[in-house]
């Protein structure tokens, strides 16, 4: 086994054990020191710009310690290869070179990864994009580097959806935004004078379901991102909320009220048929599909307190998840099914995001804020985005690595943002 990778594995393992011991209060400045040291080399202005984006991506993942490019040796490369002698004794385990060149009307990027311990190049990839898509190129490069080094696909060339609220000329405006995963290029795809919430991506990444109050009741809408067509589900006139796509994208779980009781229903998107899933006295809402689509995890207050339950599609009974506390809600399942992220009340009287590993019954608190909520997994299952409220009441989006080492505010051009949803991989 390659010694570097063995080290990386050992590092990951130790991080994971660290997570189990609830060592979570690590700022990004401290946390990165334990990551795999990597340095990105750039010469031209466009290369520097690109490398900055790649470095920020890698640092956010929680796996890397991205070193200052200034630490790279003066003569880092020579005749298309790494100038190996100049790197002797360098702190980094990996070096990356990026060469940006304008191709035939397109931007071309040649990215190369060098394993400094093994003394060889381990990846060379050529990527191209339209001239204005330098950032997208950078995210794709970061994805390739992340996968080559950790064995886990990166999720940088993806998008997020979220809700923003502003006041304009005395009137409140709610917007549904779609932006790059690092918060850049936000586009408001829906603007409404009434509240919006709970956006979720369809598994093909082509549409979003969300709740809109435009009819003066909460109602789930499905909006196509390509042609902007939208429709109310399961039909107009009834309240519905908390949409969740099945992994195959053919069904939507949602909450609706019958006989004064909120229950979970499953709506078949192709046939329009609606079937009831829960039959309990009390609130049942916030459904989340298991990775293989064989069951749902949801919030219910049937015990008197809001707690998470699991119920198979063919089961008549739900089983309460073995989680402590009186308030565990809003679960989401990672695409590989390994983790469940949810919101729990904290001893300090606030709300935090935590991870639960069903296989081991392991519980790993990730955050502990006043109002942390709405966790959503990156499609690789190793990063999360969630909403948080700062001490002065500002609503922000936070990124966290699964191991709890990196917790970082997502830089966004606007404030008062919430309800983040991470997209699937682009197709």
């Amino acid at each position: 086994m390659n010694p570097t990778r063995l080290r990386a594995c050992a590092l990951l393992l130790s991080l994971f054990v660290g997570a189990a011991q609830a060592e979570f209060r690590i700022d990004i400045e401290q946390g990165v020191e334990q990551g795999i040291p990597i340095v990105l080399v750039a010469y031209s202005e466009s290369e520097k710009k690109l490398v900055e984006v790649v470095g920020a991506d890698l640092a956010r993942s929680g796996f890397f310690n991205v070193l200052d490019p200034e630490t790279a040796p003066q003569a880092a490369v020579r005749e298309g290869d790494l100038n190996w002698d100049a790197w002797d004794g360098h702190l980094a385990e990996y070096a990356v070179t990026a060469m940006v060149s304008p191709g035939a009307g397109r931007l071309q990027l040649d990215i190369r990864l060098f394993d400094l311990l093994a003394g060889k190049a381990v990846l060379a990839r050529r990527l191209s994009a339209k001239p204005k898509q330098l950032r997208r190129l950078a995210h794709q490069a970061a994805d390739a580097l992340h996968e080559q080094i950790t064995g886990i696909p990166g999720a940088f060339d993806t998008r997020i959806a979220y809700i923003g609220q502003t006041r304009e000329a005395g009137r409140v405006r709610y917007r549904l935004y779609v932006a790059d995963a690092d918060g850049h290029n936000p586009i408001a795809i829906l603007t409404s004078p009434r509240p919006l919430l709970s956006p979720v991506w369809s598994p093909d990444g082509m549409s979003l379901a969300y709740v809109s109050f435009e009819t003066r009741r909460p109602q789930v809408f499905l909006q196509n991102l390509r042609d902007a067509s939208r429709r109310a589900l399961p039909g107009s006139g009834r309240s519905s909320s908390a949409p969740a796509f099945s992994p195959d994208g053919r069904r939507l779980a949602l909450a609706m009220t019958v006989d004064g009781d909120m229950e979970i229903f499953i709506y078949a998107l192709d046939t329009g048929s609606l079937s009831r899933f829960t039959y309990s006295e009390g609130i049942d809402t916030e459904p989340a599909w298991e990775a293989a689509g064989q069951g749902l995890v949801f919030t219910s207050d049937r015990s008197g307190k809001p707690k998470l339950y699991r119920q198979g599609l063919r089961d008549a009974q739900a089983r309460m998840l073995p989680l402590p506390g009186n308030y565990t809600t809003d679960a989401v399942v990672s695409t590989d099914g390994r983790y469940l992220a949810f919101v729990q009340s904290t001893e300090a009287g606030g709300y935090g995001v935590a991870l639960f590993e069903p296989e081991s019954d392991g519980l790993f608190p990730l955050s502990s804020g006043t109002l942390d909520e709405a966790p959503s997994f990156a499609p690789n299952g190793f990063s999360l985005i969630y909403a948080s409220t700062t001490r002065n009441g500002e609503q922000v989006l936070m990124l966290a690595s699964h191991n709890g080492r990196i917790r970082q505010r997502l830089p966004l051009a606007h404030s008062d943002v919430r309800e983040p949803a991470w997209s699937p991989y682009r197709r």
Partner: protein
């Protein structure tokens, strides 16, 4: 833990650390800026902010609770004309209507009984604590608690509409119990 190892270091990649110089993965691009073409601006409806207009502080302006102007003979007590008069407040995570609001409920029920064509809209709200979809359910429960009591007093089911806004439209913004307590509420809104 063993599982974590195998996931982070797939054997193929462990073995396959060879030089891949020149291997060119050229990703196919999506059609340009797909989402850019799909912006939607919902029409501004003059009625849209009825009952939920916000002042400069972000507080809800509840000018629509003026019962005395609704019908002087029915519920036109002086107290009924105040904002507080037709709002019912709740404890944290509770849907139980406290006894001190019995008079408010009686007043609303009497208004409906004296005005067969009268309609009420109950808007359930929660404080900001807890998750939004769950709070939507909680606000609905609160509105239903109030509705059930009004119906028990003789109003007709078709006279009472209800909706939950969850935590989306706080009466007051801020982060302490005094503020949260003002947001855990059901607003009783008389409709023409």
């Amino acid at each position: 833990m063993r599982r974590f190892f195998s996931r982070t270091a797939p054997p193929l990649i462990l073995l396959g650390l060879g030089v891949v110089l020149g291997a060119c993965g050229v990703p196919e691009e999506e059609p340009p800026a797909a989402v850019e073409d799909s912006k939607i601006l919902l029409e501004e409806d003059p009625d849209a902010v009825e009952g939920v207009a916000l002042d400069d502080e972000g507080n809800i302006v509840t000018g629509d609770l003026d019962i005395s102007s609704e019908d002087g003979s029915a519920a036109g007590t002086a107290a009924g004309a105040t904002d507080q008069g037709m709002t019912i407040y709740f404890d944290y995570d509770s849907t139980t209507v406290k006894p001190r609001f019995a008079e408010t409920i009686q007043r609303a029920a009497a208004h409906l009984q004296n005005n067969p064509a009268g309609r009420l809209r109950l808007e359930g709200h929660t404080d900001e604590r807890g998750t939004r979809a769950y709070n939507l359910a909680l606000g609905e429960r609160r509105a239903q608690s109030v509705r059930d009591m009004i119906l028990e007093l003789g109003a007709l089911a078709e006279q009472v509409d209800w909706v939950s806004y969850g935590e989306e439209l706080p009466a007051v913004t801020g982060q302490d119990e005094g503020i949260w307590g003002q947001n855990r509420r059901v607003e009783i809104i008389l409709e023409e």
